[in-house]
Symmetry: C2
Subunit: 169 residues, 2 copies
């Protein structure tokens, strides 16, 4: 894609470097634990899709994910990917990025929850940011109109710290 410059999203979470291997394993373990708790089935396909998302730390389209699954013999048709993504997003283990028709792993998997996203147009990295401040602001706006919010889509596109430097505008 537009990966024409340096910073590797693979190494970024919240745009900071970290122990990526541990990050993946830890998150998968946490998700597996929550599934066990709640009687959810983290099946091979679902687990693998989560791993694929975690490994990139960026938003992936369903068909990109499907390509990987196909290479690994885990499924080759769209519904395979979409069903796994539905499971993951429904339970708050991944999020859909509306502005990109793509999906990203949740970085603090908990109950089904809305989130805010910072999406770098330079390197594709996606960071999950606290949703509350912006959501609260929207709530106030909505309240004034008599509108009851059920779900929010809060996404910001721009440049991450790494790309701000390399793309000096």
């Amino acid at each position: 894609m537009t990966d024409t410059h340096a910073p590797r999203p693979t190494d970024a979470i919240g745009f900071a470097s970290h122990d990526h291997h541990a990050c993946i394993e830890g998150t998968v373990a946490a998700v597996a634990a929550r599934c066990a708790d709640e009687g959810l089935h983290l099946t091979p396909v679902r687990r693998r899709v989560l791993e694929i998302l975690l490994a990139r730390h960026r938003a992936l389209g369903a068909y990109e994910i499907l390509d990987v699954l196909r290479d690994e013999g885990l499924g080759s048709q769209p519904p395979v990917a979409y069903r796994a993504l539905e499971f993951l997003t429904k339970h708050g283990f991944a999020h859909r990025i509306e502005g990109m028709n793509a999906f990203a792993a949740c970085t603090h998997p908990g109950q089904d929850h809305d989130a805010a996203f910072l999406i770098c147009t330079g390197c594709g990295a996606v960071a999950e940011a606290p949703v509350e401040p912006a959501r609260a602001a929207l709530e106030r706006t909505a309240e004034a109109a008599g509108f009851t919010i059920a779900r929010t889509v809060l996404e910001a596109e721009g440049l991450c710290p790494n790309c701000s430097q390399s793309h000096p505008s």
Copy 2:
């Protein structure tokens, strides 16, 4: 679609009743004036797409718009609709609703601008809300991460005042 209950989005703007005929004419006139000012060409197809969006006060998919254009002999292939929509969105006369893959007319056409949207899942009405409070909140969050925002997607789905009553939850 899901238009199974009473309130007609056609009669709502910001979820309040208003003189719809004047609303459409006024907005088209304002847009025409701005185009004249800035040397933009509000061609028949572009004007008609704007009118179609204004007439509904809800988000329309490109193909819904294309259906209308086709009936009127103004074009029958996808690029006709997408080109007009690109013109309108590029100049701030309409907005794309990311969460719906759809488009809505701007209710205060000015320079190219981001906006926040309140989308009623009951009747489909879309209201353009002030973007600043929520955007400012996101800005603060982003700043803390060293992230520079270029564009925001702020959308809230829920129930408008009319639908809150008819759908007593």
